[in-house]
């Protein structure tokens, strides 16, 4: 049998008609009703609002309490500025990694690869993204103002406007960069610039404290000023983003969809390894090739430790994060002295987490363990050497900012943090069966909870021990 080869080219339908046709076809097989979708959205918004408000209230109560007011107000303000810059850097990196415009892999294979108008296809997503940025940014600005004790309606409104403007500016600028990747070198370095600015502010805060110099916070709220200044930039960025829509290419949509899928999988299944695995794979792909070295003949254990030592040398980002977290601890100890103890444990756990790549690899792969041979205990111990040394150094260099003198507690914290890192890195693959318990967010399998808290449970116990220690 042979088919007619010459399928005649016609004029492609406009994006709106194609979208309508696809929606109609999919609706025929869909079992989920609009009511189900709205119910899910309502539950999501309800729980996000409840827990978000609880978090904001706790922070506000703490900062308003005598414990939260122990530091200098100027130091607290500049710590907030450094945190805001770091969060902005993370948000920009996230936006760029996702796209921010995303089309599902199926949409790319079957629709975006056709000659349908690219701007027409992407425009509804862009509009939704802008609304989400306005609402999300505004809410974050409002929450920050409430948490830090702003009382007046004018101040609260100013913070909301500033948040909405900054959120919209960030999203629109990220779309501009997505549409012109070759001309958007600035976008690649913006997150680094924001992190560097946060580090400079934090370092200046610590240095100022040590030398007895403190920059007072501004007397008036900057929300309205920031929001008003950002509005013209927002208008320009949105117009440029609209113009850039036809230039958003498949390469950027492919890359972003992978990250979005992994993030959605991690959130839905409470398994961050979906996302961390992809991030790690991309991190090493950006290196590409390394100069291979010969192992020194130090026995099996020594060879495994050598391999562990090469990892941070080949991609020193783990060490950079380690130093950045140490600086964060110093800044927290200066501005919020009563939080220094818990911060020492939590940030130490996060810092060592980036150095447990080897432990995670042997923990999740039975095949790798088989090929390396020997017992699991020796394998785990060998891969625990680098994390354990890093924890020891962490407590040694952070101790002067937290407590005077070394005691039994410090030994307990070192061992506990190593144990927490070990537990988190050797977390078994998620299983979703077994006994389920009824929680405020629905039925959740007990095993799932056990696996999610594996590692952070020890951190929580260490914080309690530290607070109760005489």
């Amino acid at each position: 049998m042979s088919t007619e080869l010459g399928v005649r080219p016609g004029s492609p339908p406009d994006a709106r008609r194609l979208r309508r046709r696809l929606r109609r076809t999919r609706r025929r097989h869909r079992t989920v009703s609009l009511g189900d979708v709205l119910t899910d959205a309502y539950v999501l918004v309800l729980f996000a609002g409840m827990y978000g408000w609880a978090l904001v209230s706790e922070v506000r109560d703490y900062l308003g309490s005598p414990s939260g007011r122990q530091g200098d107000p100027g130091d607290r303000y500049w710590l907030g500025v450094a945190a805001a810059l770091a969060v902005a850097g993370l948000a920009w990196r996230g936006l760029r990694a996702v796209g921010p415009l995303v089309v599902s892999p199926a949409g790319q294979s079957w629709v975006v690869s056709s000659p349908v108008d690219r701007r027409g296809w992407l425009l509804p997503r862009f509009v939704v993204l802008l609304f989400a940025a306005v609402a999300g940014g505004g809410l974050v600005g409002l929450a920050a103002a409430v948490a830090t004790g702003a009382g007046g309606v004018t101040d609260l409104a100013g913070s909301a406007v500033a948040g909405a403007a900054c959120g919209t500016l960030a999203v629109a600028s990220a779309v501009v960069a997505q549409g012109s990747p070759r001309r958007a070198g600035w976008a690649r370095f913006l997150d680094g610039g924001l992190f560097a600015a946060a580090a400079v502010v934090a370092a200046a805060l610590v240095a100022g404290h040590l030398t007895g110099f403190s920059v007072p916070p501004p007397t008036a709220s900057l929300g309205w000023a920031l929001g008003s200044a950002a509005v013209p930039a927002v208008v320009v960025a949105v117009l440029r983003a609209y113009r850039a829509l036809p230039s958003v290419d498949r390469a950027s949509l492919v890359s972003g969809a992978q990250v979005a899928d992994a993030a959605a999988g991690a959130a839905l299944l409470l398994d961050p390894s979906f996302l961390t695995g992809l991030v790690e794979s991309r991190r090493w792909r950006s290196i590409g090739v390394v100069s291979s070295r010969r192992f020194r003949p130090l026995g099996r254990f020594g060879v495994l430790v050598q391999a562990e030592l090469w990892r941070p040398v080949r991609h020193p980002s783990a060490l950079v994060v380690w130093v950045a977290l140490l600086l964060t601890l110093y800044a927290v100890a200066v501005a919020l002295p009563t939080l220094a103890g818990p911060a020492q444990v939590v940030l130490g756990f996060l810092a060592v987490g980036r150095l447990t790549g080897g432990l995670r690899a042997v923990g999740r792969s039975a095949g790798l363990r088989r090929s390396l041979g020997g017992g699991d205990t020796v394998l785990n111990l060998a891969h625990l050497v680098v994390p354990a040394v890093s924890v020891l150094i962490w407590y040694a260099v952070s101790l002067p900012m937290v407590r005077a003198g070394v005691g039994v507690l410090d030994g307990l914290l070192v061992l506990g943090t190593v144990a927490a890192a070990y537990r988190a890195a050797t977390r078994p693959p998620m299983t979703y069966g077994g006994v389920a318990v009824d929680t405020p967010v629905g039925m959740i399998p007990v095993d799932l909870i056990r696996q999610v808290v594996r590692g952070p449970d020890v951190v929580g116990a260490l914080i309690v021990a530290q607070l109760l220690w005489p």
Binding site: V7, L18, R21, S109, S114, P115
Partner: protein, 205 residues
């Protein structure tokens, strides 16, 4: 029809494609061969615009080819290994969608389904298809729409003997109809039966 000039793609310090250049005329089939890891798939992904080369250019009919250009997408049909499916659309609906998105009416869909042996699966959802049927559906998506350049990445994968024979016959007919075909394959028989030009890459790898 297709001209590739100085195409280079690197992952960090690793150069996967190094200054690759070639041309492909209408009605001819070029087969890309090379060992595993030589960059065959990366080359095809750069040609169709699913990946961005670090240097070099791809030209269609002498014009710089951008994936964002609707004309490029109208001329170029591709079946790479990154194809995904709508979980709630049947086989026939997928193909009608492609035909419609290219301005067609879907008149050839039934014929293509029959030719690829997908009649019994025409109403099945993608999650119920075997890997071979998914491969056939991916190939079918190229034949229900107009095309002047066909880019295929190891199209023989997961096809049975009858399917491979059909594929060879189909590619010969595509050539006779004036379609240029760029194909990566490890199947020496398929290459011998259909290829006019041989593009060897990564020989030193």
């Amino acid at each position: 029809m297709l001209t590739v000039r100085g195409l280079t793609r690197r992952f960090g310090q690793l150069t996967v494609l190094d200054d690759v250049s070639f041309g492909l005329a209408a009605g001819r089939l070029a087969v890309v061969v090379g060992p595993n890891g030589s960059g065959k798939t990366t080359l095809l992904r750069c040609v169709v615009g699913a990946d961005r080369p670090d240097a070099g250019e791809v030209l269609l009919d002498g014009r710089r080819c951008y994936e964002t250009d609707a004309r490029t997408r109208a001329l170029l049909a591709a079946a790479l290994d990154d194809i995904d499916f709508f979980p709630d659309l049947s086989v026939v609906e997928h193909l009608e969608l492609v035909a419609y998105a290219h301005g067609g009416s879907g008149a050839t869909v039934a014929e293509v389904i029959a030719e690829l042996g997908l009649e019994r699966a025409r109403d099945q959802l993608p999650s119920t298809l075997s890997s071979g049927q998914r491969r056939r559906l991916a190939l079918a998506s190229c034949f229900v729409r107009p095309r002047r350049l066909l880019v295929l990445d190891e199209p023989e994968q997961r096809l049975d003997a009858r399917g491979r024979a059909w594929l060879a016959d189909r590619l010969l007919r595509e050539k006779r109809a004036g379609t240029a075909v760029l194909m990566a394959t490890h199947d020496a028989e398929l290459a011998a039966a259909t290829a006019d030009d041989r593009l060897e890459i990564g020989g030193g790898a």
